[in-house]
């Protein structure tokens, strides 16, 4: 098979290979892929070729956490073995080997601390890989770090309990190294915390992306009733899209009264609707011209005084012909005013009146003043 044929084969089966790279087991794998050794069968298990995975990881610049984390158990075991040998033989070569071993473990811790810090920054800021790959890497690193945290404690214990007490120089070295290992162990906890947070955020983002894709699909299919209902119901708390986007400016702001829609539309109607005014009719009331009227008033006291002085025999006749009654216009009024005065005089001065049986000239009983 030539190189170009291999690339073509992989291109034809890219979905299956991609699935396997992401850790899923494809349901159907073409035999050609086994023949080209892209997939291998190990018993019943089907796996993607390890060489291919390494190649892809290198090309995609995926973090090589295996290199960073390394193994410690063997080295620690070696230290314990050297101690046994030293105790058996008292050969100082073993002491030198132990010192060298402690220094190596310490340097590994130191280098690993800075490597992990870089590694986490790298994965957190990874911008080109898919979220699935990033999540997978992050979870693997987290597992390794948790293992490492245990290893740190183990190393600390072995240094403090197993190796200590052999020689002052080594004891001093262990004290120095332990302080730093403690510091690196604290850092490791911080990295684990940071990575945990990152994994959680990435999972949320993955879910978010699914929601974004689902909603975008609905917008494309014009199936946005739910979104629109949400926007309509919550518009007072959501960003207002201001008017004419071409002008980008609002020259005037509506007043509070304008905002009240009913009123605002009423004002607009008033402005833009022209209704002919109805002619206003003049009121129907007819006003009379006011004329100056001379009020004629009867001076009753003067009349009584004259009556007392003249003592008429026919009181009504006298009153009717008196000057005070003469003031009035018509005969009717004269008679009416005279009669009222006559009745008043008779009723008020009964003791000065003598009522005759007979009637006078105006069919009114004759009354004489006495």
């Amino acid at each position: 098979m030539t190189h170009i044929e291999l690339i073509s084969l992989m291109n034809r089966h890219k979905k299956v290979i991609d699935q396997a790279y992401k850790g899923e087991i494809p349901s159907h794998i073409d035999m050609a892929l086994f023949e080209a050794d892209i997939f291998n069968k190990i018993g019943d298990r089907i796996v993607l070729n390890e060489a291919y995975i390494q190649f892809v990881n290198t090309m995609l610049k995926r973090v090589e956490y295996g290199v960073i984390f390394g193994k410690y158990a063997e080295e620690l075991q070696q230290l314990v073995t050297y101690k046994k040998r030293f105790l058996e033989t008292s050969d100082k070569t073993y002491l030198n080997r132990i010192r060298k071993g402690i220094e190596d473990v310490f340097l590994k811790f130191k280098r690993r601390d800075s490597d992990i810090s870089v590694l986490i920054s790298k994965i957190v800021h990874e911008n080109t890989l898919s979220l699935e790959v990033i999540l997978d890497d992050a979870e693997q690193i987290l597992l390794q770090m948790q293992e490492l945290s245990k290893a740190s404690t183990q190393t600390y214990d072995i240094f403090s309990k197993e190796i200590v007490g052999l020689n002052k120089e080594i004891d001093d070295l262990i004290i120095d190294v332990k302080i730093d290992i403690q510091r690196y162990s604290d850092n490791l906890h911080k990295y684990i915390h940071r990575l945990n947070g990152f994994i959680l955020r990435t999972k949320q983002r993955k879910e978010q992306n699914n929601k974004i894709a689902a909603l975008a699909q609905k917008i494309m299919a014009d199936d946005t009733s739910e979104l629109e209902a949400l926007l309509r119901s919550d518009h007072e708390s959501l960003h207002h899209t201001f008017g004419n986007t071409k002008r980008h400016k609002i020259r005037t702001a509506p007043s509070q009264r304008d905002i009240e829609q009913d009123r605002f539309s009423a004002i607009l109607r008033q402005i833009f609707t022209l209704e002919p005014h109805k002619a206003i009719k003049a009121p129907q009331t007819i006003y009379k011209k006011q004329e100056v009227e001379d009020k004629v008033v009867l001076n009753y006291q003067k009349l009584i005084d004259d009556i007392k002085r003249n003592m008429p025999e026919d009181l009504f006749e006298y009153i009717l012909n008196h000057d005070e009654i003469e003031k009035f216009d018509t005969v009717q009024i004269k008679r009416s005013e005279a009669f009222k005065a006559f009745l008043m005089a008779v009723s008020e001065h009964r003791e000065h009146t003598k009522i005759d049986d007979g009637f006078g000239s105006h069919h009114i009983r004759r009354v004489a003043w006495i």
Partner: protein, 187 residues
């Protein structure tokens, strides 16, 4: 800096993000609690509500919107969601504070459009017409819209290819989360 200047910006329909360099002075101003309260009252008198949440500021309108306002408001939100869906498909992990590079995005788009025609449909719907015939003019239009939605901001004067994703992206993502509360994981 005074309330009138801030109002002028916000009343253009802008969302001011705390991580925006261009509007950093405005953000500092609004972060003062007393000034914020004063502005809140002033905006309220004019018929608007000033909102400050998740590191961004914007105005909403009190009371009912008229038909045109409502239409513009819904269209803008839909378009912004489409734009974010394109961004997140091309760069699934971008978030507030992330950086995007114009040319990288075009490159990624070219890789993806062959596999998934829905992305080019969304892009066409968002920036249709106006002579957007080639990929560059389409992406120019997309970036222009992203800027107008206050989602991105160009970084530096010389490096014109790089953009920062602003805090305002969270505003739209919040709406998406509300609108799609139970979306199942796909893939």
């Amino acid at each position: 800096m005074d309330i009138a200047s801030v109002f002028e910006v916000l009343s253009q329909g802008k969302i001011i993000s705390s991580n925006s360099k261009k509007y950093s002075e405005y953000t500092r101003f609004l972060l003062d609690e007393e000034i914020f309260d004063e502005f809140y009252t002033a905006a309220s008198t004019l018929g608007y509500i000033l909102h400050s949440e998740g590191g961004y500021f914007y105005l909403s309108k009190k009371g009912q919107m008229n038909k045109d306002e409502m239409e513009a408001y819904i269209t803008k939100h839909k378009d912004a969601i489409l734009a974010i869906s394109i961004l997140r498909q091309l760069r699934p992990q971008i978030d507030r504070g992330s950086f995007i590079v114009y040319t990288d995005l075009i490159h990624e788009y070219k890789m993806q459009e062959k596999e998934d025609s829905s992305i080019s449909n969304r892009l066409k719907m968002l920036v249709s017409g106006k002579g957007n015939v080639d990929l560059k003019s389409i992406f120019d239009a997309l970036f222009d819209r992203l800027r107008k939605f206050d989602l991105i901001e160009r970084v530096g004067d010389h490096d014109q290819d790089k953009y920062k994703v602003l805090d305002a992206i969270d505003y739209y993502i919040k709406i998406i989360e509300l609108s799609e509360p139970n979306s199942k994981e796909s893939k």
